[in-house]
Amino acid sequence: MKQGNYLNSASRFSIITLALLLSFSSFVFAQDAEPAEGAAQSETTPAVQGGDAAAGKALFNANCAACHKLYSRATGPALYNVTERRDREWLYQWIKNNRALIDSGDPEAIAIYEEYNQTAMNLFPQLSNADIDDILAYTDTPKPEPKAPAAAAGAAGQGGGGVSSTVILAILAVVLVMLVAVLFLVNNTLRKFAVAQGVALPVKEARKPIWKSFVENQFLVLVSVIVLLLGGAYFAYGWMMQVGVDQGYQPIQPIHYSHRIHAGDNQIECKYCHSSARTSKTSGIPSLNVCMNCHKSISEVADETSEFSSVTEDYSKEFYDKEIQKLYKATGWDPATQSYTGETQAVEWVRIHNLPDFAYFNHSQHVSVAGVQCQTCHGPVEEMEIMYQNAPLTMGWCINCHRETNVKMDGNPYYEKIHEELSKKYGVEQLTAAQMGGLECGKCHY
């Protein structure tokens, strides 16, 4: 019986050691949030010619950015260093009322008007000369150099979490090995003591091997076989039930379209592009002309120094710009001439959410009538760099939601009568989709 005590103390020792180690690791491997960057931004916009570049940037983004970029041509010309190309007085006149300038026969004005396919520029009579100075100060800002080291630092910081858990595991393993060794040594030492002090050690009798007695015990064999079979069936069932369930399916698409940038960073409403979700059965993969509504003037992502930057360490600006070029190729848009060539090429997206043909699902029912958020089924799309299937899309998953979700009936005259009748029947004010008949087979299978 004495042995038991020894064992107890040994295990107590090991638990305390483990607890200590764990508590240490929590702060040893905690990430150091570095108060870096930030300062770099402000110094890149120097004040030029009396204008305030910071104020100019705000004005530029509000008035000009739809058609102009600083360093590349868009609907209108690139504006970097425009003050060197044009006379300031001329610029005042042009910006305030370019029409008048053209009509007055100014050769410079006419030349630029012709160069850009007679695309009329908006008039900005509301801008004062000081405002224009501010804008021009901003346009003279040289292109900032990308900051590679900062990005690299970020990458190292991110990886920390993965390393720490392996290290903990490794240390744990070492400790356990040490424990085994200690126990073995203790046991040896105690034996030696016992021999030395003449304590008779119990002699082990030659017993029947355990497997033999197990085999002879028919009941036990039967029970274990049943248990094994049940266990096997359980796992087989689990495996089979996931056949055809593509949760997490994340195929590589022909164009790397980032929902994170569009729906997340830029907060574009889902239904702006997936407009048919409001009225139709399908949410609709947007046709490419929808993309071009914006991408006619957005030919590249903002670079990493910009506050609008969406660039991450995994996906560089060059990477994204190349993807936008793919869009241009598909739609036949020539950014140089700002016109369509007419050579189009359909984009073959890989479909992610595949319902079987025998299941009828209608987006508008859920989106428009029920007011269900897209994210309820599609997950945090606004955070997805690469789109994946968030929900299992199994029938159980559908049914569950129908059981739990209350139907949005307020203010919809369609429901007035049925709400009154059903709430009387079930004695509740809020009705679930199931109570509305949303569990009937024929509602989705026909």
């Binding site: 609709g284 490419l288 299941a359 209608n362 007035e416």
Partner: protein, 1027 residues
């Protein structure tokens, strides 16, 4: 293979002298494979490290790996538009009004398109005044996705471009050396096309335009022209009719262009105790005869006498009909009733004789009939038989230099097609504008295929003063060009037909867009009328009434042989759509037989000839063959169907079958009866002789009688009883035994089931009015089209494995009322009764049609027996079949008292064994994307078009409003322009369906079994009052 293209796999093959090519022709490989090197050498085999066991391991592993990999789903692609068309939203249907005008069927329709594909034809309710739409109109959408269509222009069998064709033909047409150019066309009834043809005639020398109808109305046109000076057909609006007397006119079929069903049905529904009385004298059993209050079988020769007799009685005289006493009495009685009805009576005749048609017009004039409309006649038949015959003569004499054939197939459909074919050899330039390389196309050296009407522009004047517009609902599937566009190109006008139409339109009061939206414009003729178009002032000149009557009265039946009446069947019509599997599988409403035409013969004549219809041990119908001879021409091996009600001495045969060219092998069924259509007359005197052989019919309904269960299946009563007696006398509610006393089957205690609560939300009911149902079958095709019902083919139909979700049962009854039959039944000893009532009446049975689909029982027997709960009951009343849950035990079908469940014995889609529309990419485009295509081993049945009701509900929810009365519909209720099938929500107060449910005519099919169906019928009332 119609293509002469040479195919090759490598350039080497183009070198004729290559030895490799020669070697490859004989052997699989160009050189010997050195097999011995690795198999024959024992040493090298021993040296190999792969043992047999290893090999098996590899095989096992790769099989297992492949199996596991197969569990992965396929990668689906989603390809959006680059630039989306403004009006197309994926997943939403668009509707376009357009007009069908294939020369036989003319109809203003609404086309449902999904993702730019037309998938269904609906009735254009705005244009209801233009007549009803038949089964062929509803099926026409599938004819667009016909794989046998021509895919581009051809010259002498070689594919060419349109410019090449225009170039070659332009030269040829201008240099014919004085020979004439003849346009042989269908009836277009199109003002713009007429104008265009006259412009073409002006641009080229010596142009003639001949209009040809495969099945014409020459006699009626001549008579109308003679009387009213216009080559047209009188229109009829039967809705106000009190007495309809028809002699051989199948007013519910294709008589004079058809489409009279809706107004006819309106007059047949008893309202305020009144309904029309319809007496039909006819030889074949037609839909009209089946629906008539009184049907008198009469041979064609007798019909002529009847017409004359009726004329003289109506005009106040008396007549000695010279007919057998029974017929004489019937004719006199009918004439008296007609006279009494006065302006609310109408007389129609289908006798193919200008005299008879003349008499008919004058009878209606004498009556002052308000049913007939001669002011705005129908323009849907323009064919001129004499001009066609003149053309054939000219062709044979070599006077015709170029023949341009549009929309007709004379090499198949002319009675003297052989003469036409012979004459064609003398014509230098033969151009076919037909959609297919049909019998005529095969003989033409230029093929300039036209698109289907769903891909075309056009205007059609179905009824005078009402212009219907045809607009494309899809871009042409193939490299086709409209006939009119070809004419425009050859007259060098430099505009498309669309622009031409629009230019013609400019002076109209209604805007072009509004007209396109509505599909028709009433009351104005926008296009300037064409100049006189060689309107032949009918050779026989003016027909005088007295001479006409005299000629008719003297008509003598030929002493020998049988009087044949040729007709167009409800499914196939004139044969234009013979390659349409829906129509081939459509069972004829009267004979209930599909995939065939056959000689219908009376039982008496059949017995005389020793002809039998026999039901085999498997339940299928077999028949004998006969040869039919007319003037030395013999049609061999025509199967005979013994038809109850066929006038003895007469036989009937459907035209439009037996087409071979551009028809898929499976659909080359029946015999071509056109050679018997001598002189374009539908009645002929023929010789019939029995020959050997057994014909296998695909007949879906053997049981012709109701075996005395009249009260349970079809309830019929007379107008007199309906008006005078209590409802229990003619529409009793069944009774069952409860606690030793009789209680109504509708009593709560009669029910062993707990009832569903169906008071909340919509609860759907379907009402079928047996008075309004004429059995036309439009609903059957509409159901096919809406619900992706597969076509199974003749053999499977014969095995009773047809998949129609909606069938129209046809029952014969021998007694005037069912009362009599039931009485007989009660008086007979128990074991005799069945055989007596089962005995079919062959002489002149009464006919009743009953559409039967799933009755959506509230206490459905099918639901309780399904071991996997694949059938559920919805709160809305539907009996919901869940295909993905079904394991195919077929218990439900066995337990269904109505036999409306259909089992998929095979995979009907993408299966070469069933090579119909679901087996090719083109044909599958017609599938409704909202309805599952069922797989093998699954039970299916009518769903009450739940996809349509769900859509209606969703639209209302989205728009935030309650559903209005009339919004809920099913495919069949939408297709039924007779108003027989009505669908609606019985929980909607004051709705039409509630009214129908409370109607005293309402009864349930087999109500006594207590399944509480959601479909109910309205008792059929017959107006049996004589005079």
């Amino acid at each position: 293979m119609s293509s002469n293209k040479k195919y090759w796999k490598s350039v080497e093959e183009l070198n004729e002298n290559s030895s490799i090519v020669e070697a490859l022709k004989q052997n699989e490989f160009a050189q010997e494979i050195p097999m011995d090197e690795f198999l024959g050498d024992k040493d090298s085999l021993d040296a190999s490290s792969t043992t047999r066991r290893d090999f098996l391991k590899y095989v096992g592993f790769s099989t297992a790996a492949a199996t596991l990999a197969a569990c992965e789903g396929p990668v689906n692609k989603s390809i959006p538009y680059v630039v989306a068309p403004e009006r197309i939203t994926a997943g939403k249907a668009d509707y376009y009004a357009t007009t069908m005008a294939d020369g036989f069927d003319f109809a203003s329709v609404l086309v449902k398109t999904r993702e730019g594909r037309p998938i269904k034809i609906e009735n254009n309710k705005l244009a209801a005044s233009l007549g009803g739409n038949n089964a062929r109109v509803h099926a026409s959408v599938l004819s667009m996705y016909d794989t046998k269509r021509l895919q581009g222009p051809k010259i002498d069998g070689a594919d060419v471009s349109w410019s090449e064709l225009d170039g070659q033909l332009g030269d040829k047409l201008k240099n014919l050396g004085g020979k004439s150019i003849v346009l042989l066309t269908q009836t277009f009834a199109s003002p713009s096309t007429s104008k265009l043809i006259s412009e073409f005639s002006a641009a080229y020398p010596n142009v003639k335009h001949v209009t040809y109808d495969a099945i014409g109305e020459q006699a009626a046109l001549d008579a109308f022209e003679s009387k009213y000076g216009e080559r047209a057909l009188a229109d009829y609006d039967f809705s106000e009719a009190e007495v309809i007397i028809s002699v051989g006119a199948d007013i519910l079929g294709d008589w004079q262009g058809g489409g009279f069903g809706p107004t006819y049905a309106k007059s047949r529904v008893p309202k305020n105790g009144k309904m029309s009385r319809h007496v039909q004298f006819e030889a074949n059993m037609t839909l009209s005869g089946a629906n008539a209050d009184k049907r008198v079988p009469m041979t064609p020769a007798q019909q002529k006498k009847a017409v004359a007799a009726i004329q003289s009685i109506v005009s106040g005289g008396s007549a000695n009909t010279g007919l057998p006493a029974e017929l004489d009495e019937a004719v006199k009685s009918a004439a008296a009733q007609l006279r009494k009805a006065g302006s609310k009576g109408v007389f129609v005749t289908g006798v193919q004789d200008a005299n008879a048609q003349m008499v008919a017009l004058s009878i209606n004039e004498t009556l002052g009939s308000r049913i007939i409309d001669v002011q705005a006649p129908k323009m849907t038949r323009q064919g001129n038989a004499e001009e066609v015959q003149q053309l054939i003569a000219d062709m044979n004499s070599g006077a015709v230099g170029a023949l341009l054939v549009a929309g007709v197939n004379p090499a198949y459909s002319l009675p003297n097609a052989d003469e036409f074919v012979a004459g064609l050899e003398n014509v230098d330039v033969k151009v076919s504008f037909n959609m297919k390389e049909d019998e005529t196309g095969l003989l033409c050296n230029y093929l300039a295929p036209a698109p289907h009407y769903l891909e075309s522009w056009g205007d059609v004047e179905i009824k005078k003063g009402q212009i219907c517009l045809t607009q494309p609902t899809i871009r042409p599937l193939f490299n086709t060009r409209q006939f009119q566009d070809s004419l425009l190109a050859w007259t060098g006008q430099g505009v498309t037909y669309y622009e031409y139409l629009k230019n013609n339109w400019s002076n109209a009061s209604t805007s072009w867009n509004q007209a396109l939206h509505d599909g028709f414009v009433a009351g104005s003729i926008p296009a300037a009328e064409e100049t006189t178009e060689m309107s032949s002032a009918t050779s026989n000149g003016a027909i005088t009434l007295s001479s006409a009557v005299a000629a008719l009265a003297q008509e003598e039946a030929s002493t020998s042989g049988y009087e044949l009446t040729l007709y167009s069947s409800t499914g196939i019509g004139n044969g234009e759509q013979a390659n349409n599997p829906w129509l081939q599988e459509f069972p004829d409403p009267i004979t209930r037989t599909s995939w065939d035409n056959y000689l219908t013969m009376s039982k008496a004549d059949a017995d005389k000839l020793g002809i039998e219809n026999e039901i085999t041990s498997k339940g299928a119908l077999n028949g004998n063959y006969v040869n039919i001879t007319l003037d030395g021409k013999t049609i061999e091996n025509v199967p005979v169907y013994v038809q109850p009600g066929q006038a003895p001495g007469s036989v009937g045969l459907a035209l439009g079958y037996g087409k071979k060219a551009a028809v898929q092998e499976e659909m080359q069924v029946g015999v071509n009866a056109y050679p018997l259509y001598k002189d374009f007359s539908a009645t002929q005197s023929v010789q019939i002789e029995k020959v050997g052989g057994v014909h296998e019919f695909a007949c879906v309904q053997m049981q012709n009688t109701m075996a005395g269960r009249a009260d349970d299946i079809i309830r019929e009563t007379t107008l007199e009883i309906f008006n005078t007696k209590d409802v229990h006398a003619w529409n009793p509610v069944g009774e069952v035994d409860y606690n030793h006393s009789e209680i109504s089957v509708r009593d709560k205690n009669a029910d062993i089931w707990e009832s569903f609560d169906d008071t909340m939300g919509p609860h759907f009911n379907l009402s079928i009015d047996l008075n309004a149902c004429t059995g036309c079958g439009a609903c059957v095709i509409a159901c096919h089209s809406e619900n992706n019902v597969p076509v199974v083919g003749k053999q499977e139909v014969r095995n009773f494995r047809d998949m129609h979700w909606l069938r129209i049962d046809r029952y014969y009854s021998s007694a005037d009322t069912f009362e009599e039959e039931t009485k007989t039944l009660e008086e007979l000893p128990a074991f005799d009764s069945y055989s007596v009532v089962e005995k079919q009446s062959y002489d002149n049975p009464e006919v009743a049609f009953q559409p039967v689909m799933c009755q959506h029982c509230n206490h459905a027997p099918c639901e309780t027996v399904c071991p996997v709960a694949a059938i559920g009951h919805g709160r809305q009343g539907q009996n919901q079949m869940t295909y993905n849950r079904c394991v195919g035990t077929r218990y439900c079908a066995n337990n269904c008292p109505y036999k409306v469940r259909r089992f998929n014995w095979f995979l009907y889609a993408e299966n070469d064994e069933f090579d119909y529309n679901m087996n090719n990419d083109l044909g599958r485009m017609v599938l409704n994307p909202d309805v599952t295509v069922r797989s093998r081993g699954v039970m299916e049945k009518c769903s009450f078009c739940i996809q349509m009701t769900q859509k209606t509900i969703l639209d209302a929810k989205r728009e935030g409003r309650a559903v209005e009365d009339g919004e809920f519909a099913t495919a069949c209720s939408n297709a039924c322009d007779n108003g027989a099938i009505k669908f609606g929500d019985v929980n909607m107060p004051d709705s039409e369906i509630v009214e129908l449910k409370n109607d005293k005519r309402k009864y349930y099919l087999l109500e006594d079994i207590g399944v509480k169906p959601n479909v109910f019928y309205q008792v059929k009332v017959k107006n049996t009052a004589e005079a």
